[in-house]
Amino acid sequence: MFKEVKYKDILNIKHLSIKKNNITCIVGESGSGKTTLLRLLNRLISHDHGEIFYHDQPLSQIDPVKLRRAVTMLPQTPATFSGSIKDNLLIGLEFAERPLASDNELYELLKRVKLNKELDQDAAKLSGGEKQRVALARVVLMNPEVLLLDEPSSALDEDTEHIIIEELVNYTRKRGKTLIMATHSKKVASQFSDQMIEIKDGKIINGKGV
């Protein structure tokens, strides 16, 4: 995964490359442009200058829907769709027009995100942290090449955060995925990341590998 010059009124990046199969953390204060960077990679917004490359191919030449199915993003406030936990887990696969997973796989997945819930439970009744983990599990279930996670642990307590992120990191490494994660926690970033990118006022101030 590679990126060159790229602009936007909030973000001004001269050069940045994010390595494949690595765990990259984006840190910086809120409002610094972390989310904007992720949204650009997911092509939910378009840069107005320069070019972003994915596998040496400019983003603008990749079909946006196809791209998002390979480079999938989890927003900071995770969405809970109406329906059960099961519906919420499977909806990602439905959106991506892929075969659905079995209940066993789903229970396995819930265990991995430390959610001890029944699949037919109403997702709207879950707590903030539980919803976040359901949304995270949904993205993991889709098994994309690149996971873009925007503050995936913002609604979790510190212990759960640690367990979940560790689980996520193991998953990424085992499956040879690329994980790009925006986080406010420098602790998480320094502990788990291969590469740490620090953003301030839309500029990269530190993009070296750790």
């Binding site: 946006p64 199915r69 993003m73 769709f81 990602g92 959106f95």
Partner: protein, 261 residues
């Protein structure tokens, strides 16, 4: 037609007693609606008298051009009304979609209705064309108005869900399915409901009018059934066109939600 009671001017005037009564009630209860009551009564009177004379003129001067002018005015007024009545800001492309689906949907059902169902000749006979066009356009207008509101509201309040769906690789169509379906549903519901109450809860205006003018209730009813179905068709076509094309105006070619300024 020997049973028809022609209303004399004084008889019509006598009906205004109801307005006076309402004004009286409003005054006593201190409800400040006198102005609106007066204005709407006067508007109703003037508009209907004008229409009476216009229709009289049209029926005596039957030619295709007149009929076409009438339908164009009706469509233009209906589209203008939909756009004006919607409180939400509408984007230019969305307004175009409203105009397009209104025009196409109503005209398609109108042509089918006049030529295939009633089989009038000549096709521009204003006696059939104008009232039927009015009913189809009027009901479609109400339908689309509801659909527009629901669609725009939904796109706004569910923005987060739509974006989340896009992030997961949903096409705009998938991401908005729920909202589009809701908009369609709420737009056609009044028409469906009105069919349920038809004949029991209320006698529709067209039928009542025909019966008053001396036509046999059975004939009036068969017309009413046909026109109800025509309205149902017209509303469904206009609304499905609108929602199917309308949701697309919220996305750009890059399948991104367009930020409203």
């Amino acid at each position: 037609m020997d049973r028809v009671v022609e209303l004399q001017l004084w008889q019509m005037a006598a009906a205004y007693i109801f307005v006076v009564m309402l004004l009286f009630i409003a005054r006593i209860r201190g409800i400040s609606r006198e102005k609106e009551i007066l204005i709407s009564s006067i508007r109703m009177t003037v508009q209907l008298i004008l229409v009476g004379y216009i229709l009289d003129y049209l029926f005596n001067n039957i030619n295709p051009l007149n009929t076409i002018v009438v339908i164009v005015v009706m469509e233009a007024f209906a589209i203008h009304n939909i756009i004006k009545r919607t409180k939400e800001k509408l984007s230019k492309p969305l307004k175009k979609i409203i105009a397009l689906s209104m025009t196409f949907g109503t005209l398609a059902s109108l042509i089918y209705f006049l030529l295939a169902v009633i089989n009038i000749s000549p096709w521009y006979d204003p006696r059939y064309f104008i009232p039927i066009a009015g009913m189809l356009i009027g009901n479609s207008m109400t339908g689309i108005s509801l659909g527009v509101t629901r669609l725009v509201d939904g796109m706004d309040s569910e923005k987060h869900l739509i974006e989340s769906a896009l992030m997961l690789g949903a096409t705009p169509k998938m991401a908005t399915k729920q909202i589009v379906d809701n908009a369609f549903d709420s737009a056609i519901l009044p028409t469906i409901n009105s069919m349920v109450g038809m004949g029991i809860v209320f006698l529709p205006g067209m039928m009542t009018g025909q019966i008053l003018s001396g036509i046999s209730p059975v004939t009036a009813v068969s017309y009413q059934i046909a026109i109800m179905l025509g309205i149902l068709g017209s509303v469904s076509i206009t609304v499905i066109l609108f929602v199917q094309l309308g949701y697309k105006t919220f996305f750009n070619e890059e399948k991104q939600l367009i930020e409203n300024e």
